[in-house]
């Protein structure tokens, strides 16, 4: 039962075929990201929006405009979440939807 609920929470993520659900919110991506502290959001926070099913929060995050796709976050993520790919898709989502 618990698994169902949690999966529902990251339901929107299914469109993106990525597992933001694996993220344990360790903050490694934020610490390695060169642009993470410029806006109010960090890569970790954007993934957190997705985990909370807050698609709008994720897509409208100011961090997305700063991400330069350096891939460092994806490379160091201890849970192998492809963060850079998620950012890329969110940006696309933003331009297509909003």
């Amino acid at each position: 039962m618990t698994v169902q609920i949690e999966k529902q929470m990251s339901g929107n993520c299914k469109d993106m075929e990525h597992d933001s659900y694996s993220c344990v919110q360790c903050g490694y991506c934020s610490s390695c990201c060169e642009v993470s502290f410029i806006s109010k959001d960090s890569p970790r926070k954007v993934i957190r929006y997705l985990q909370r099913n807050d698609m709008e929060g994720a897509v409208m995050s100011p961090f997305l405009m700063l991400c330069k796709q350096c891939q460092t976050c994806s490379l160091i993520c201890p849970q192998n979440v492809d963060i850079a790919q998620i950012m890329r898709e969110l940006v696309l989502n933003r331009f297509l939807t909003y």
Binding site: C26, G27, S30, S31, S36, K40, I76, P78, Q79, N80
Partner: protein
Amino acid sequence: MISMEKIAPKIGLYIYDPAETIAGSIDLQAVLEKCAKIRQVEICETVSEPASETFLDSVKDAVTSAQIDRVIWAGRFTSHQRKLLESSLTEAGLNQYLCEWCDLELQGIGKSSGSAKEQQNKAMTLIKMAVARVKLLMPLTPQEIPSSDTAVVVGGGISGLHAAASLLERGKEVHLVERQSGVGGKVALLSRFYPLQCDPHCGLEYVLKTLRKSDRLTVHALSRPLAVEGTAGNFSVTVLSQPRYVDAERCNGCGHCTEVCPVDQPVILDAVQDEKPFRQTNGIGVMIKETRKAVHQAIPYAFPETYVVDRHACPPDCRKCEKACPTQAIDLDQQPVEKAITAGAVVAATGWDPYPLSKLSDYLGYGNIAYVIGNLEMEQLLRRITRGVTDLTTPPVNSLNNVGFVQCAGSRNTQHLSYCSSVCCSATLKQIQQLKSLRLEAKCVVFYQDIRCNGFEEDLYRQVKELDGVLFVRGFPKVKTSEAENCVSVIAEDTFSGRKVEIDLDLLVLAGGMQPSEAGSEFADVTGLPLNPHGFFTGHYQCYPEESQRTGIFTGGCARGPMNVSQSIESASRGAIKALDFLEGSITIKPTFPVVDKTKCDECKRCVEECPYACYYFDAKGFPEPDLTKCRQCGNCMGVCPVGAISINHLTVKQLAAQIEMLETSFLDEDSPIVLAFLCENDAYIAATSAIDSGLNFPINVIYLQVPCAGAVNNAMVADALSLGVDGVFIGGCQDGQCHYIKGNVQVRKRSGDLRDKLTSMMIEPERVRSESIEIQDTERLVQVLNEYINDLKELGPNPFKI
């Protein structure tokens, strides 16, 4: 003793039905009358008080007067009654394997569905099956295999020392094989233990007391095992020892040699795998260098007490120590020695190695940014500060104002160590406690993911949180070279507030993880033992964590996985206790082992392949032979043998065939399918008996036999049963991954291809065979599965071979 020469068997059949469960459902009297008429059943009676003196005496008399020479007990006896009956029969001289216990109630008589007539027919069939089996029973005696009382313990760390101590205290002889020049392992490098902040040397000395006063201990230092041959009780362990260049009998530890030694060489601590553990960056950096002479006390702990010379460090032609030694103990011409040790058991306590932190240098800066050290180096630093060492290589304690710790450095990371290293959180907290005791003003920051302090270690966490000047930041940091001097810069996102944390630190300690030791991997190669996916030794993790795939070789301590000192000690003790079974001078083998009929064997070697314990070897003529010390008597060999050449004593192919033949497939009417079920003794059988006991409507159609493992079921048995008219054969085994014999349940399924071919050629539908995984409590599911199966069989129609 009753002679078993070609005399027809004489069976005593006793039925015990105190609650009249059986008598209430069937005409027990009629059944008894019929049974008494079965050939070779000499006594057939009901029992009212099995534990009474009169009854016991009557049974004993029946045996001693040769009226009967084997017994069937049919009924629900308490274990107390069972023991009394068994001991009485033994007193009367009856071999315990000529005594059969069967329980009609557990097969559903009086407790399952079906009319009285059906139950009565089934009861008759069950008794006839038992009689057929018992006629073929043979007396059996356990085998004794002589074994050594010597144990070899591989690894002289805290685990190995405790294993050795436990064995020495039981009077066994122990050979301790350690690759360094002294014992102590990683524990000797630590500054303190948690939670009491006690000195590891104290713990080491305590266990060494037992070792020091024993005259049954041989320590092989600078040694490694090259081979472990033989089997439990009789291993031959080949040990190669490098020379110490010091005579153990002459060296008294006076240390004059070190005073004249011209060499000062850095200690490459066993703790780190990098060649240059303490890197310098632009000439600035934390350098924690210990140096020693070429001739020195044993490392890491001075036991054995004999000194040792590191010949690689000696200048050419220098023999100063040799000349200076007042007892002429130094012998620079010593050679390596190879020795074979006979042992009954081996305990592997090969410990762990630190995960190389240089693999994290990209983001944690180890090796290229100054002031970043690992947790073992921090131990060394704390140790030196505590001892008041003030040299250029140890930073003065009052320079440590801001110290950071990074948890999960390399652990819980799919790209490094995917598991949690278990001790690093408590170790860091312990280091903070010690640091604060040395310098109260020091401020500490812990960058963590989760603080994992299990059990009472939580107290340690609370104590440290209550200290002034200790900050916990949840977020993984990035380490950078600082712009300021003599410090290192760290940034992290505090994942709770979302804010950036940026701080300059005098020292950053990476709480690195534990990986399997190189010595352990080497030992796995030498012994052929399998490792788990993380590279640690693995047994049956839940129930028998100390076992390895080779009977008689046990493991203990961090060789099995990350654990703290107390856990290592307990783990090693478990290994030692289990090793004792093989050190008692002889090993008793239960007589229910497999026997190969070499007149039938065609050397196809399938038994060799399928034995989950790899216990088969080849005899002089090339026939397979089981090593009885390794054999777990699971029956997989019997199950796979395509020519039926292997039988387990007391569950032979003939005995099973006789039982199956007696199964009267007419005990139910034509439309009701008859199912013969083979259930494994560890899970499926218990599920069946529980199902019946709990009053679930167990189908009357099923007659089940207990086998040690589903893998013991031979295709020929299945085909026979079907050719004799049984409508379906059901095989119940454990769930995948839970088979008590590792893979028996999987192996029986693998044979289904062959079985399918065989049945098709016999014009029998392969769908009549079903195999299922049944867990021990799957009582309802078992009944449901059987009912569905019986329905499927009804649709398939009766077996054409059925009479």
